[in-house]
């Protein structure tokens, strides 16, 4: 009869070495007495003989199983593992026979240890033992696991809390992590941990996240068994929460609906301003546009550029957005594209002073490149935000025809900004049925690489503006 003592710290490695030796020497399970440190030596025990060395092949899944089961608190765990290992010698397929009663037992023990490890990860509660302002903060916890789970679970805490010192003290083995080094000791007394202000906040959180209308005490207890409660700071409030829950739920049901607070009308008015059409007193539109912060463009642009022209104009011309000069001057269509537009408009005998001219987007969107501002096309979101103002302008001026110059204006007015070249010169309609003539933007002319193409494009624009004058 052989007596083997497996120490508390490093049990997995030592059991493995011993078992390997016994197996190599062909010693049967009934010839070995496995003991923990605390167990007394057997009366008939003899010193183990020098082990034979040899290669032992064991299914990999057994090694993983043994590495977990050795941490179980059952004193027979080492013997059970060795007995099963002994059987595996001749029947390695046993590892996949889930109906085998020895394996089922071991798997069950494995499950217990896994669960205990998981609960340890969940229920250890640290308190700060150092000072909050320390460069490397230090924390400590008292925990009472069911199985010997401190050693196999310590790596989890190392991975998670590597930038602080911590210690998890248990009645059995304690883990200490200091300056990035992990060590284990036994026989630590229960520490007297200082009060921790964050713990009160945590209890406040626990009390308030609970919904008294759905009491499911059993569901809670099956996952957070009572044996853990004494070391969980929040668990002290559980009896009180359960006792008051029915009353609180009844009060909710019985209390009559209250009147909405005064604030509500104001808030909803604000909200309405965001979703519906602009509704303001006469003459306030310009002021409101100038103060617009509906999209981020207002942050970088100088100012919102308002529309210009008589409020009863029969023709409304909509461009894309203000450019560099427009942004600085606060007037639409005064830059190079604006001047080009004026030329073509004059050629089409279109009187700019009797036309209302505005832009689909009121703020200049650009990218700063060195000392220059490079124009950027507004995106769909910005167009959609600014459409609100455009709609308000259309509503105020009530033109007979709107000329949409370029893709952005077409997008804002007709909901479609694609293929302008094939759509130009035709009358389309807004969502509310107003006629819209789609045409090119004067800036398109400026972008043409040679005079030939520029004059062709200019003819197209001229042609379209003539269509517009004839329409009126």
């Amino acid at each position: 009869m052989q007596h083997v003592v497996i120490p508390d710290i490093g049990a997995a490695q030592i059991w493995r070495e011993k078992a390997r030796g016994f197996l190599a020497s062909g010693i049967a399970p009934d010839q070995i007495l496995w003991g923990e440190v605390s167990s007394d030596a057997d009366l008939f025990a003899t010193q183990p003989p020098a082990h034979k060395q040899g290669t032992i092949t064991v299914p990999r899944s057994f090694v993983a199983l043994a590495n977990t089961v050795v941490w179980h608190n059952d004193p027979e765990r080492f013997a059970r593992l060795y007995a099963f290992l002994w059987r595996l010698r001749t029947a390695p397929h046993l590892m996949s026979d889930r109906g085998d009663s020895d394996l089922a037992r071991l798997r069950n023990m494995e499950k217990n240890v896994r669960r205990c490890q998981h609960k340890m990860k969940a229920f250890v509660r640290f308190r700060e033992i150092g000072c909050e302002s320390d460069k490397r903060r230090s924390f400590a916890a008292w925990f009472e696991p069911t199985h010997h789970t401190v050693e196999p679970t310590a790596q989890f805490f190392v991975k998670r809390f590597a930038d602080m010192d911590w210690r998890i003290v248990t009645p059995h083995v304690s883990a200490i992590f200091e300056q990035g080094r992990l060590s284990f000791v036994t026989g630590q007394p229960k520490p007297d941990l200082p009060d921790d202000a964050s713990e009160d906040l945590w209890i406040t959180y626990f009390r308030n996240i609970f919904n008294p209308a759905r009491l499911k005490v059993q569901a809670m207890q099956s996952e957070m068994p009572k044996k853990y409660w004494k070391n969980l700071p929040e668990a002290a409030s559980i009896p009180d929460l359960i006792a008051n829950a029915p009353t609180r739920a009844r009060q909710m049901a019985e209390s009559a609906p209250t009147l909405p607070p005064k604030r509500m009308a104001q808030v909803q008015a604000q909200l309405a301003a965001c979703t519906s059409a602009w509704k303001g007193p006469e003459g306030a539109l310009e002021k409101d546009i100038a103060a617009c912060t509906r999209c981020p463009l207002h942050r970088s642009a100088t100012q919102a550029v308002l529309g210009e022209g008589p409020k009863d104009a029969s023709l409304m011309v909509v461009g894309e957005q203000p450019g560099d000069m427009e942004d600085l001057h606060g007037k639409p269509f005064i830059g190079p594209a604006g001047q080009l537009f004026d030329d073509v408009a004059a050629a089409a005998s279109l009187d700019r002073t009797s036309t209302y001219i505005t832009n689909a987007v009121k703020h200049f969107k650009f990218q700063a490149k060195g000392r220059r501002r490079i124009h950027q096309r507004p995106d769909a979101d910005e167009i959609a935000h600014c459409k609100w103002w455009l709609d308000a302008e259309v509503d105020q001026v009530k033109p007979e025809l709107i000329v949409a110059m370029g893709a952005t204006a077409a997008q804002a007015l007709t909901g479609n900004g694609a293929s302008i070249l094939s759509r130009r010169g035709q009358i389309e309609h807004t969502a509310t049925g107003q006629p819209v003539l789609v045409t090119l933007h004067p800036a398109y002319l400026l972008r043409q690489p040679d005079a030939q193409r520029r004059s062709e494009a200019k003819d197209l624009l001229l042609n379209d503006l003539e269509v517009a004058t004839r329409f009126l």
Partner: protein
């Protein structure tokens, strides 16, 4: 008005957050802080650090940034017409709470949601700022779940997805009509568009760039959503139909079902009822059957005439009781698909049956050791040493599983 303390704010803003069911912290990228330069880890599976007496797990610090809200959704405690106390956290307060709770091992991370203040973009950009501060200034490697605001600007959603593990947008109610009725300011089409957007960004993140480099992962733990059950008249077929559409269209990780629960200061529009907890439970079971047990939607919902799940027995048992012709199955011969349909057999049990079957014939006792719930399963299977005899077709089989009748309360 005096300034509220952190404790008072936490009380108000966690109370306001409890109606969100999700508290998952699983399924994200594996990472840790062994290098000593950061705080936190994630190993793919979630940890529930505590349980409240309502049976829900507490894994994340689930709070609202503010419970001021300009919307008026009848089912919500934070709607503009409610008289609950209001509070607002500053960015630093949320960051500090998260870090201090995390260091004490109370939580896995942060679940941040918010009422809509001023405009959707302002709200969303504050939330993104919190996440950014946690990730970049505190080097926090724990879990972050952000509730996105549907009509926030796409750039903000993109930043949120790069910082957070999970994004979610609640569809709130099973049908568009119900959303329009109870949450007039919310737009179902906009919510769907936002979910589609998250999916596309996530898909795009999987591609390698031209130089073979991986793009930064977008919301690695995916997106989820929540539906309130029992507030409107939708039946379970409609609810499950909606969730199968959501799962397939937007590749959601989870659809959460939340039994409509009484709230303090409720709206006159929605009468208070006891939360239909049993129905919520059955919907989750059906959801699992659809996702992991290869059941089709109409197989589950066609068992009863009104399209609602049977509240007395679980959906798999209800299906088996209605299709007794295919039972009893021989566990030593039946296919995996059929074994998955046996009440009392889970996915794990079935895998164990299949692996052991390769070596020897299974007996009744083996099944007990494999974790099968034989009280349910025995009427539907044959195994070595066991045959159910007339039990499978007996008229009172259903009565064996149904809870005993209760006397009606007189009050």
């Amino acid at each position: 008005m005096t300034q509220k303390t952190l404790d008072q704010k936490l009380a108000i803003l966690s109370d306001a957050a409890k109606y969100d069911a999700s508290c998952a912290s699983s399924g994200s990228t594996k990472r840790d802080s062994r290098d000593g330069k950061g705080l936190g880890s994630n190993d793919g599976s979630g940890i529930c650090h505590a349980y409240a007496p309502d049976g829900r797990c507490i894994s994340l610090l689930k709070i609202l940034m503010t419970n001021f809200c300009i919307y008026d959704c009848s089912y919500c405690i934070n709607r503009v017409s409610s008289n609950v106390k209001r509070a607002r956290f500053s960015v630093d307060e949320v960051v500090k709470l998260t870090i201090e709770f995390y260091r004490r091992n109370y939580i896995e991370g942060l679940f941040l949601s918010s009422g809509v203040i001023r405009s959707p973009d302002d709200t969303m950009s504050d939330m993104v700022q919190i996440a950014r501060k946690l990730r970049h200034e505190e080097n926090f490697r724990g879990y972050i779940h952000l509730k996105t605001i549907p009509d926030a600007a796409p750039e903000l959603i993109e930043q949120a997805g790069l910082l957070a593990d999970r994004l979610s947008i609640n569809v709130e109610l099973p049908t568009d009509a119900a959303v329009q009725h109870y949450a007039p300011e919310k737009k179902p089409e906009q919510i769907r568009k936002a979910m589609a957007d998250v999916r596309l960004r996530k898909d795009a993140g999987k591609d390698r760039s031209f130089s073979g480099k991986r793009l930064p992962r977008f919301a690695p733990a995916g997106q989820s959503t929540q539906m309130i059950i029992g507030a409107d008249g939708s039946n379970d077929a409609a609810i499950l139909g909606q969730s199968t559409r959501l799962y397939s269209s937007y590749k959601l990780k989870r659809v959460y079902y939340s039994a409509f629960s009484p709230i303090p200061d409720s709206s006159a529009k929605l009468p208070l009822i006891r939360p239909p907890l049993e129905r919520e439970h059955r919907l989750y079971q059906a959801d699992w059957l659809l996702r992991f047990y290869e059941f089709e939607l109409d197989e589950i919902t066609s068992v009863t005439a009104d399209g609602n799940l049977d509240l007395e027995v679980d959906p798999k048992l209800a299906w088996a009781l209605a299709h007794r012709a295919v039972f009893p199955l021989d566990v030593n011969l039946a296919s995996r698909e059929m074994l998955l349909r046996v009440p009392g057999f889970g996915v794990k049990t079935v895998t164990r049956i299949l692996s052991t079957r390769r070596h020897r014939a299974l007996r009744y006792d083996d099944l007990i050791r494999m974790g099968a719930s034989m009280k349910k399963a025995r009427a539907f299977i044959t195994a070595g040493g066991w045959t159910p005899g007339a039990l499978t077709d007996s008229a009172n089989l259903r009565a064996r599983f149904v809870p005993p009748p209760k006397q009606l309360s007189l009050f």
